[in-house]
Symmetry: C2
Subunit: 272 residues, 2 copies
């Protein structure tokens, strides 16, 4: 599930993980910016699979229409066989933007994983279509998905459960409800397993707009905690026993708010 | 850590996961075949990082020389800073084959992950150099690595710990000491998170030679259990509580022995 190879050198679309609980009516800057990116007369495909509430899809349909979308298709994918339907794949082929709601990210990975729908989303994003997701929808986006874990700020062995995600990016590992649910420890643990990726801890009502050049810009009212393990000198992750705290020496951390920018190539952050 | 993009259309090299405890003197068919693939006057780079025994590297050096290798470089990578050394990267650039020993796969991912050495191995494999690994060295090869877990044949939520691996392939998830340590359950659990990959359960003294076309051929004295979740109809993986058994309806299973072949494109198996 690594990022889909890009055809004919088109730029990939934005990848937009949102930390959950984004403002939907007043100060809906994140959703507004998403719809704006998707262009005039945008067609948005909504995937409410993570949620088990009946009206999640319809709710976003109303919101996106209010924000100016021309057409919204709610794709009710509740079983793996739904994800092989030609109609559904066609809706994704025709969309200008794709939005995955919150809920349980394991519903997304177990229902969409390996199906025609997952392939279509990956291909469309590689072709330039923007993909946004909130909470569980955000967690599902990268190659390595945080499926669950414990709260607390100190990393501990076995603190986090990783699983394969959708694979839109393999440069970031994403966590959400970050400050609200005290998740620094589990993000550090996830990164410590193999310190090749950069961690993105998204507060609620906060989004990372990750452009085609892998530059990330912050929108919304909270902060994003960027965790860079590339200069990690020492780690006891390989020897720590279950539940034991883990030593990590040399983590770099940045907190970015609205307008802040992170450049993955140089691994550098700047204020907006 | 997705597979390195291939340059100038050269074919990638073989990926050769071995289930551990391979025959080293009599009937050493797996290691013989690896050295044969690497060509006449082969230079083999041995990475004993997973092991904490002092003589693991030297032992394979003697073995590979006996089997006809012209030169063997043992790369003692014990800390992350060792993996940024130019000399070490040069040895990998000059090697015709790379071999990772057994031990603890978390030592490989935590020490090599994100370093110049990991990048060099990925690039060299993409350029046509063969990479073999036994036990922990095999587990580390794919994008999604089984870091640990429990034994038993029925999948249970939380039965397996996944972590990012080296990323030489993202089409297979590999488990080893398969029959000897009763690992069907944990491989099923790993696949159930996101049923896009195919599971490869390697018995001891058994290897999968995965060619550039992702066709897999079995060598050695044991069996390989191929687990294909692509026709999975139903799964309770998203709702099962910790330690609970998981329902999976529609798994396809093949057991292959010496000479057996599996074709990932058609997801079909045949006797040798």
């Amino acid at each position: 599930m690594s990022p889909s190879p890009q055809r004919d050198h088109s730029e990939r679309g934005y990848i937009i993980p949102i930390g959950g609980a984004e403002q939907k009516v007043r100060d809906a800057t994140i959703l507004e910016r998403f719809i704006e990116l998707c262009g005039r007369r945008a067609h948005i495909a909504v995937i409410p699979t993570a949620s088990e509430l009946k009206d999640t899809g319809r709710r976003y349909e109303r919101l996106f229409r209010k924000l100016g979308a021309d057409r919204v298709s709610v794709l009710n994918l509740k079983r793996r066989e739904h994800c092989e339907s030609e109609d559904v794949v066609e809706a994704i082929e025709e969309a200008d933007g794709i939005f995955m709601t919150g809920g349980n990210q394991l519903r997304l990975s177990t229902i969409l994983g390996g199906t025609a729908v997952a392939q279509a989303i990956r291909r469309r994003n590689a072709e330039g279509i923007h993909v946004a997701g909130t909470s569980a929808g955000a967690a599902f986006m990268p190659e390595h998905m945080i499926a669950g874990g414990d709260s607390g700020s100190t990393p501990r062995a076995d603190m986090v459960q990783l699983a394969p995600g959708l694979g839109l990016t393999n440069r970031f590992i994403i966590d959400q409800h970050f400050r609200q649910r005290d998740r620094l420890g589990r993000l550090l643990t996830a990164l410590a397993y193999n310190p090749f990726a950069v961690g993105v801890g998204l507060d609620e009502d906060t989004a990372a707009f990750i452009g085609p050049d892998d530059t990330l810009e912050v929108y919304g009212s909270g902060g994003i905690t960027m965790v860079d393990p590339s200069e990690l000198k020492e780690s006891t992750m390989d020897s720590a026993h279950r539940h034991e705290p883990v030593s990590l020496i040399g983590i770099r951390l940045h907190i970015l708010v609205r307008g802040g920018v992170y450049d993955i190539e140089s691994r550098s952050a700047r204020l907006g």
